[in-house]
């Protein structure tokens, strides 16, 4: 009774929460429940409630294939490169942008570096193609100019561990450098003034003030990204590589693997098992990293 009274009293506020609640239940909570199909021999015509339960069989299947190892390795290794190298590059870039100050050229450069962030990977994949295309791309044009033989990049697995990070940094470096840049702007100038009186040059100021002051935000960003180390940017790994079969060994990640499983209609239960495996590890990682953030810098903890 008391509950109903509360509901009546808050009817307007409840109405306001309704659309989001319904959407989250339909698009987030129901699929969580649906993830249990990883334990089924799922058949589309039988549906979720009609399919047979098979326990951990799908997971056994998955981990027996060499695919499980390859996609886990690729997802983890690329993400580690993206996160660690990305942080170093972004910090260096942010420090340089800060040192160059508010000249017009510097402002323009900052704006240009951020621009690729707003481009979708569909368009990005065309951009990459203009560079890497076998017969027309500028990279092969340059190689030919210097007398080399052109390379079919979309069939050359060895090149992609370098191409993918470059493409990733092309799109993302501006964004992360801005985060660090605004943190540098937030450092009190008193520190620099004091350092100057003590005779510190520009490099010593960077070395002993800027870098140490950035340490906490860098650590927090690193830890936060670690939480998503098991997820991959589907557009980058699927579109930019043109889903080229010759490259699967070095480019397929958990997400592209699940997608290819879905479209090729192969064992759906096993594909769902792959997805569930990803979600569970990702969830554990987020919770663990959040616990670590809470220790290192409670202000930045997510919950």
């Amino acid at each position: 009774m008391k509950f109903l009274k509360e509901v009546y009293k808050n009817k307007v506020l409840l109405l306001m929460t309704l659309p989001v609640t319904v959407l989250l239940i339909l698009l987030n909570y129901c699929p969580m429940f649906g993830a249990l199909m990883a334990f089924q021999d799922f058949k589309a015509y039988k549906g979720f409630f009609g399919s047979e339960w098979v326990g951990f069989k799908n997971f056994e299947f998955l981990f027996k294939t060499s695919d499980a190892w390859i996609i886990t390795r690729n997802t983890l290794c690329y993400n580690l490169v993206f996160i660690i190298l990305g942080a170093i590059l972004a910090v260096i870039l942010a420090i340089i942008f800060d040192l160059l100050g508010k000249t017009r050229l510097n402002t323009v450069n900052q704006i240009l570096v951020l621009f690729p962030h707003f481009i979708s990977w569909v368009v990005g994949s065309y951009f990459v193609y203009t560079v890497l295309s076998f017969d027309k791309g500028i990279l092969n044009g340059i190689i030919e100019f210097f007398g080399g033989t052109p390379i079919n990049w979309y069939n050359e697995p060895k090149a992609w561990p370098f191409i993918l990070p470059i493409a990733h940094f092309w799109k993302g470096i501006g964004y992360s450098s801005i985060i660090y840049y605004s943190s540098i702007k937030g450092i009190s100038l008193d520190y620099y003034e004091a350092a100057k009186i003590d005779g510190a040059g520009w490099f010593q100021q960077v070395r002993y003030i800027t870098v140490p002051m950035l340490k906490s935000i860098v650590i927090v960003m690193l830890i936060l990204h670690m939480g998503s180390v098991f997820r991959s940017d589907f557009g980058l790994f699927y579109l930019v590589t043109r889903n080229s079969g010759a490259l699967y060994n070095v480019t397929s990640t958990i997400d592209t693997y699940v997608y290819n499983g879905l479209t090729q209609g192969s064992n759906l239960g096993m594909t769902a098992a792959t997805g569930l495996y990803q979600s569970i590890v990702a969830c554990i990682l987020v919770i663990t990293t959040n616990a670590i953030v809470r220790k290192v810098s409670p202000d930045d903890a997510m919950f």
Partner: protein, 314 residues
């Protein structure tokens, strides 16, 4: 980030007073080279779209081709009814999605920041959980396409991107810190209802954060191809521009595979005729980027300050 003090307005040149000219020159060169090299693919695409097709066949992609031509754009403007349709769909989805997303998320945030609302904690938890754990691509796909039956429905392009836990929490944080509860309570005593408080008091006070989220949403909707890729299968009338671009790429892949898998000459020729020429493809890419390219100089400042708003924690 409480370590830092805001002092953007007292920017003095302490840090760079004794930066040697030579170092400064090197740094400027590096950043300039970097930023322009990041633009090269875009510039290349633009110049390819303005290149004469035969020249393209002979020379490949060049920043400065020997023969320019606007035939690709003429072709698009004349023949491209599907392209304009797709353009319209993208604009529609972007506008409707952004407005709908803003409306549902701001009202939600308003409700869970009212002190009188008894289930604040539970609702926040409800949102947090969705950020922690995801059912994964396949169950979500099954839900949207089979259970809700939204395959080939424009709602499948709008609903999945409409609500985002992170944005809700950013809105909530901002409302809690920047709208004093006493203002709303005073209005309530004067007889204003919750809707009125929301529209006339809270929303205007939250302008910066609402604008930021609007920007995030609009960019996400405009650039989205993934939802369309998954859910728009048969209905060609509601293909957004990004998916159209993706499909053209697929056809070309199909053709290059077909060359190896022994299709007959006639079939190959037929495929070839239906394919848009290289410069037309790139012209389409340019058209997809143009809205962002044109608005970017205006919204980038906004976006940069938005990143800072987003990272503000209580």
């Amino acid at each position: 980030m409480k370590l830092f003090k805001k002092n953007e307005f007292v920017e003095k040149d302490i840090k760079r007073e004794d930066l040697p000219k030579s170092i400064k020159a090197i740094m400027t060169t590096i950043t300039t080279l970097l930023s322009f090299s990041m633009l090269i693919p875009l510039l290349l695409t633009i110049s390819v779209s303005f290149t004469d097709n035969e020249t393209l066949m002979l020379e490949g992609y060049k920043l400065i081709p020997s023969k320019w031509s606007t035939s690709a754009y003429e072709y698009l403007f004349k023949a491209g009814s599907q392209i304009w349709q797709a353009y319209g769909i993208s604009i529609f989805v972007t506008i409707v999605g952004t407005v709908a997303g803003l409306f549902v998320m701001t009202t939600f945030a308003y409700a869970i920041t009212r002190n009188s609302f008894p289930w604040k904690k539970q609702y926040v938890m409800f949102v947090y959980i969705t950020m922690l754990f995801s059912g994964g691509m396949i169950p979500i796909y099954m839900m949207v396409s089979n259970v809700l039956g939204l395959r080939d429905n424009i709602l499948a392009l709008i609903l999945p991107l409409c609500v985002n836990g992170t944005y809700i929490l950013i809105l909530r944080t901002y409302m809690r810190t920047s709208v004093p509860p006493t203002v709303v309570e005073a209005a309530k005593i004067d007889g204003a209802g919750d809707w009125r408080c929301f529209w006339q008091i809270v929303l205007p006070m939250c302008k910066p954060v609402v604008a930021t989220i609007a920007l995030f949403l609009a960019v996400a909707y405009w650039n989205d191809w993934y939802q369309a890729f998954l859910y728009i299968v048969k209905n060609d009338d509601i293909v957004p521009i990004q998916l159209l671009l993706k499909r053209i790429e697929n056809e070309i892949q199909y053709l290059s595979n077909a060359a190896n898998t022994g299709l007959t000459g006639v079939e190959l020729q037929r495929l070839n005729e239906n394919l848009p020429e290289e410069s037309v493809k790139m012209a389409l890419v340019v058209m997809v980027v143009t809205p962002i390219l044109v608005t970017y100089p205006f919204f980038q400042k906004f976006f940069i300050s938005g990143i800072t708003i987003g990272s503000v924690k209580e």
